[in-house]
């Protein structure tokens, strides 16, 4: 995924931070819907199945780019479409105060970036 395809939030943070669920939240799952319950603000946030999957990936370990790539791989969607959806969903989580962002280990970030580099010799 190119830099221009990266979600605005991730661009702004320069992939130096990873989305992480804020403490004090829990999921209420029923047959028909899933709700994120925020005990601090006594608010409820209904999420659809894709948003729920993204929510589960917000564990402080996954980059936004990795989320996008995995969704593209699974659903065969174009990166442009998936980036827009992921960005929108994370922005809604963020606006609702559901996310904190954890700093990314710079050594690990370099190692993962290097994995995309190919040499022959």
């Amino acid at each position: 995924m190119s830099a221009s395809e990266m979600p605005a939030r991730s661009r702004a943070r320069g992939d130096s931070a990873l989305p992480l669920q804020r403490p004090g939240l829990w999921l209420r799952v029923s047959e028909d819907e899933t709700v994120i319950v925020d005990q601090d603000s006594s608010s409820l946030h209904v999420v659809n199945e894709t948003a729920l999957a993204l929510w589960e990936l917000c564990n402080g370990e996954n980059t936004v780019a990795e989320m996008v790539t995995a969704i593209c791989e699974l659903f065969g969607e174009s990166a442009a479409v998936v980036v827009r959806d992921v960005e929108g969903t994370l922005a809604r989580f963020d606006a609702a105060g559901l996310l904190s962002w954890t700093p990314r280990n710079p050594l690990e970030a370099n190692a993962r970036r290097g994995a995309g580099h190919r040499t022959n010799g």
């Binding site: 990936l57 190919r118 022959n120």
Partner: protein, 234 residues
């Protein structure tokens, strides 16, 4: 019963499950949809491929534990034969390993027997539309699995990139089961040089044995270095 000429075309479905009662229930559920029609069924995995060819199904719902030939094998058979059939794999309960195994075998979607019949109908329609069909509560863990796998692949690729051209050839030959003497013959080098290449391969790949290196070569498609290098360049 013959279809009336005025009927809209219905997608043709095949059920592969060893429980006759379950097949009967699912058949009723699917046949009740105006756009779907069950055109065949079998409880024996060994008959599925020939039946699929005979009845020209668009989608097969197949139990991963089907006797005779299991659902994973049937998925692989369908993809290998390039049959134009979408595969909806089915297991008794939601299990992530089964889901990943089914997708790796070529399944287009995955449902569970414990799910609602409406989910199966939705799953059939999803794979017909070229969409991935995964139980919603498994989607997050599946995506996490894909991310971890991608990281592992990238990590292996980093180590592979350290190998010289000759070391890649050595790895490919290890992947094909050669020992140091036959590697020496293939590469027209001395056995001692072959040993040195092998040691370098083990060291750079951070594996502890030739067997481990060979398994890695097969798993990550490093058995044809020329093809691998072409892919890297592209």
């Amino acid at each position: 019963m013959m279809e009336r000429a005025t009927d809209a075309p219905r997608h043709r479905l095949f059920l592969a499950d060893d429980q006759a009662l379950f097949r009967a229930v699912v058949r009723v559920a699917l046949d009740s949809q105006s756009d779907l029609k069950v055109v065949g069924e079998s409880g024996d995995g060994q008959q599925v491929m020939s039946e699929l060819r005979r009845c020209r199904a668009d989608v097969v719902v197949v139990d991963v534990n089907l006797p005779g030939r299991n659902g994973f094998e049937i998925c692989a058979d369908i993809k290998a034969a390039a049959l134009p059939v979408k595969v909806l794999a089915m297991s008794d309960t939601a299990d992530e390993k089964t889901l990943v195994k089914a997708l790796e075998a070529g399944a287009d979607g995955y449902v569970t027997r414990e799910g609602r019949l409406a989910d199966m109908v939705g799953g059939v329609r999803a794979v017909l539309n070229g969409e991935a069909c995964v139980p919603r509560r498994m989607l997050g863990s599946l995506l996490q699995n894909l991310i971890k796998r991608r990281r592992a692949t990238d990590h292996i690729q980093l180590r592979y990139d350290r190998l010289s051209k000759r070391e890649r050839e050595t790895l490919a030959l290890l992947g094909h089961g050669h020992d140091h003497e036959s590697i020496a013959r293939e590469m027209v080098i001395s056995p001692q040089t072959a040993r040195t290449h092998i040691q370098n391969v083990l060291s750079k790949l951070e594996v502890h044995s030739r067997l481990e290196a060979a398994a890695l070569a097969v798993e990550y498609d490093f058995t044809d270095p020329a093809r691998k290098d072409e892919r890297d360049v592209s």
